[in-house]
């Protein structure tokens, strides 16, 4: 193998990792710590009207889904008494927290009487009869006079709205499914609008959230069976926001933020420090054991673990800043286990190297061969871990997701370090040895 390429890989990788670590430390770009480790901000929400326990539970799940779809990871949402308590990790100030939890709100469906551009005139406002309202559209260019609500967003099945592109025209549209029990409500409204009846002369049906007309599609069929398609001259942005509105439509009740509290870490302020101290002691003991057992070549494990640690730190700092995935105790667990998996890569390699040397090869000769067969093993085993974390990340919610993210990152770091650092380091070090002293074997033969 080409020595220059090996040295290049070794030095290049260490340099890149070192620079990244230096930049992160210099800019104080730490991983964001989770609710249990660092505390956060908590928002207490209260329903605007009396509701049952079941509705509160529904709202709780909906809020968590909404928060996660907005990229706020691992919120802790629960019902307490008649309130809903939302704890947010990694949120710095209270205004940001209030903004973030402003995800609840009832979507109503109201027939449109007339829409006109500009601000509402006084005559128009005066002419409104009972139950009617003049509401601005979401782009703010028009005002629509709408009738009393004929239904709520509960007619749509939860989470079914998605933005799509019409294959023929290439235009954006939104599709959404109707719930079995919502179909009748929707169709009553739709048929009234389709026929242009006095309640709905404009033939438009407005989708209203927070007193803003999000969309006012013209109804072009009297009855819908399972799904509804909303088309128009939409941009991608508009379609996405409309889909979000339709998806949140299932909120059975309106909730309002009551107050904001800052929260101390649940794991106790000492937990992280204790974990770090205990972790360092544990890893040191383990490394000492490896040095005693594998002798000289164990220097590569010590160095490799440092490089791996630096890689993981930089990755964690980057990912938690970029994606809002705070490092919680669950993530820390993932990392502790990953240390074990990383060390295993070295042990598999060294045991193989030992076998080869025992059967008569020089370390110099055995190292590249050993690495090749070990690499296959490590690749197969690590791929399963990466696969596991990818699937858990995509399909699960809450802290499972955070755990998966960090397990995946550390495993990837293991693969990269193994190939770019360990491989050249072992081969180059072994090339200096012609007997088994390298790996703690007495001189055989």
């Amino acid at each position: 193998m080409n020595r220059r390429a090996l040295w290049g890989s070794l030095i290049g990788f260490v340099l890149v990792v070192g620079v990244l670590l230096g930049v992160n430390l210099a800019t104080e770009n730490h991983p964001v710590l989770g609710l249990d480790l660092q505390g956060g901000v908590s928002v207490i929400l209260q329903p605007t009207e009396e509701v049952g326990e079941e509705d509160l539970d529904t709202v709780r799940s909906l809020i968590r889904d909404e928060l996660e779809s907005l990229g706020i990871a691992e919120p802790d949402v629960r019902v307490e008494g008649t309130n809903i308590v939302v704890d947010l990790p990694g949120v710095k100030d209270q205004a940001q927290a209030l903004d973030a939890v402003d995800v609840a709100g009832i979507v109503t469906l109201r027939p449109v009487l007339v829409c006109q551009p500009g601000a509402p005139s006084p005559e128009l406002l005066a002419s409104l009869s009972d139950g009617q309202a003049a509401l601005p559209t979401s782009d703010g260019t028009q005002v629509c006079v709408v009738g009393p609500p004929g239904g709520t967003g509960e007619v749509f099945s939860r989470g079914s709205a998605s933005p799509q592109i019409d294959q023929n025209t290439g235009r954006w549209l939104v599709t959404v499914d109707l719930r079995d029990d919502g179909q009748a409500v929707w169709n009553t409204l739709a048929s009234a609008c389709f026929s242009g009846s006095p309640e709905c002369p404009s033939r438009q049906l407005a989708i209203v959230l927070d007193d803003v007309v999000q969309s006012a599609p013209t109804v072009n069929q009297p009855a819908f069976s399972t799904g509804v398609e909303i088309t128009g001259a939409f941009s991608e942005e508009e379609v996405r926001s409309l889909a979000r509105v339709l998806n949140r439509g299932a909120f059975p009740v309106n909730v309002e933020a009551q107050r904001v509290e800052t929260v101390s870490p649940t794991a106790g302020s000492d937990s992280l420090r204790a974990a770090i101290i205990a972790g360092i002691i544990g890893v040191s003991v383990m490394l000492l054991g490896l040095v005693l057992y594998y002798r000289r070549i164990a220097i590569i494990v010590v160095a490799g673990l440092m490089v791996w640690g630096a890689t993981v730190f930089s990755l964690a700092a980057f990912v938690s800043q970029a994606t809002n995935y705070a490092l919680s105790l669950a993530g820390v667990t993932g990392i502790i286990v990953a240390i074990g998996v990383t060390i295993d890569s070295y042990i598999v390699l060294f045991e193989r190297l030992k076998d080869e040397v025992r059967s008569g090869r020089t370390p110099r000769n055995a190292a590249p061969r050993s690495f090749q067969s070990t690499w296959r093993t490590i690749l197969a085993a690590d791929l399963v871990s990466v696969m596991a974390s990818a699937i858990l990340f995509w399909l699960s919610v809450g802290s499972v997701k955070g755990f998966a993210l960090y397990l995946g990152l550390t495993t990837l770091a293991d693969l990269v370090v193994c190939y770019l650092f360990t491989r050249p380091a072992v081969i180059l070090l072994a090339s200096k040895y012609r007997d088994g002293r390298l790996i703690g074997l007495g001189v055989t033969s």
Partner: protein, 381 residues
């Protein structure tokens, strides 16, 4: 002719069992003891299912909800709340105690899994007394779970997808029998870990669930490392038509040191978390993870060798490819020689040890082809 033999004798074999283990020269008959591992695990499984049936799991506040007190924090803090709960005999396992502050002042929120109506009022009075405030100033509320059934549902769906993909992956990369072995070993590990939580009555928190997921990944990882060695030995011994028992024994003996080393080095940091972090430094939340992880790592390493491999042996034994290779397996010195890199000697051709008394071709040609490395030359100038 036999290079293998010369290689086997050129290296001295360790005197004690320990030195043989270090040198990778063990000749343990894992195949012969395969039923031991399966039986032990079966016993554990029965115990687990029994315990789950009778005692169930002690689910924490995140799963079952509980009671919450808001105690104004003037002289009263998190430490005082913990002390009070301890004094009142309420378990703080899985309890959540936070200091919260808003414009209206600071207070300690204490959330505990189980406290019946009257008990909640009693504790409310106790909190009020300890914090030197009126009873009415301590708010009591029922708390719902934060880990709803939908979280569990999604996690289970993710797991099922994962299992299917892992099965496909292992079937392609290795073979379907190994997929079966790996997945059974993994389920075994998770069930045993859950069982230990049930038997000892540890509180299950979201952290525990995460730890169980970790166990699952760890178990699979470990099994794949072991199976990779089996596959390699299969290829090496293919021409010799060695029975699977031999392949398994050789592979297990070759990986045992790696398994011991890996388990030790993975377990040491976790034990440190448990003893130093949770014990000495008193961070009790750490013990939740550490216990589950410790159990998982130990069972993970155990199941690869004592569940996954024996199961693979059973499945292989029935396949058409391996059925007609039922020679007596090698034990003792011949096994040791093969573990140390040799190939099957022609010994069993004599048929005196073969169970079925069949004879087979001597695979001398192959053993010559699969030759040992060339002796090292003197350093050239």
């Amino acid at each position: 002719m036999s290079l293998d033999e010369s290689r086997g004798t050129a290296m001295e074999v360790g005197e004690s069992g320990r030195s043989r283990l270090f040198r990778g020269q063990t000749a343990i008959d894992f195949y012969g003891r395969r039923r031991l591992g399966l039986a032990a695990s079966l016993g554990l499984l029965v115990l687990t299912l029994g315990s789950l049936g009778f005692r169930g799991l002690d689910l924490g506040i995140d799963f079952e909800g509980g009671v919450s007190w808001d105690v104004p924090a003037s002289s009263f803090g998190v430490a005082e709340a913990e002390a009070l709960l301890d004094a009142e005999g309420v378990s703080t396992d899985g309890a959540r105690i936070q200091l919260r502050s808003s414009e209206s002042g600071e207070f300690v929120k204490v959330q505990v899994e189980a406290a019946e109506g009257a008990r909640a009022e009693e504790l409310r009075a106790a909190f009020a007394e300890a914090a030197q405030v009126a009873v009415d100033d301590v708010g009591v509320n029922l708390v719902s779970s934060s880990w709803g059934s939908d979280v569990t549902g999604k996690a289970i769906r993710a797991l099922l997808v994962f299992l299917v993909l892992v099965a496909v992956f292992i079937s392609i990369r290795f073979e379907w029998r190994m997929a079966v072995g790996a997945i059974v070993a993994m389920l075994h590990d998770v069930v045993i870990s859950v069982g230990i939580y049930s038997v000892f009555g540890f509180v299950v928190t979201p952290a525990t669930v995460i730890a169980f997921l970790t166990i699952l990944g760890y178990s699979l990882y470990d099994t794949i490392v072991v199976f990779d060695r089996i596959r390699e030995n299969e290829a090496r011994l293919a021409a010799h038509r060695a029975p699977f028992a031999d392949v398994m024994n050789i592979s297990m003996n070759q990986v045992i040191m790696r398994s011991v080393n890996t388990s030790l080095s993975s377990v040491v940091p976790v034990v440190s978390l448990l003893l130093i972090g949770a014990g000495l430094l008193g961070a009790s939340t750490l013990s939740e993870f550490a216990i589950a992880l410790l159990i998982g790592m130990v069972t993970g390493a155990y199941s690869s060798i004592f569940i996954a491999a024996p199961l693979l042996a059973v499945l292989k034994g029935r396949s058409a490819e391996w059925r007609d290779r039922r020679w007596a397996r090698a034990v003792g010195e011949p096994l040791r020689a093969m573990v140390m890199g040799g190939l099957p000697a022609g010994r069993r051709v004599r048929g005196d040890e073969a169970e079925a008394g069949e004879s087979r071709a001597v695979a001398d040609a192959a053993s010559v082809l699969n030759h040992a490395p060339r002796p090292r030359r003197k350093k050239r100038r």
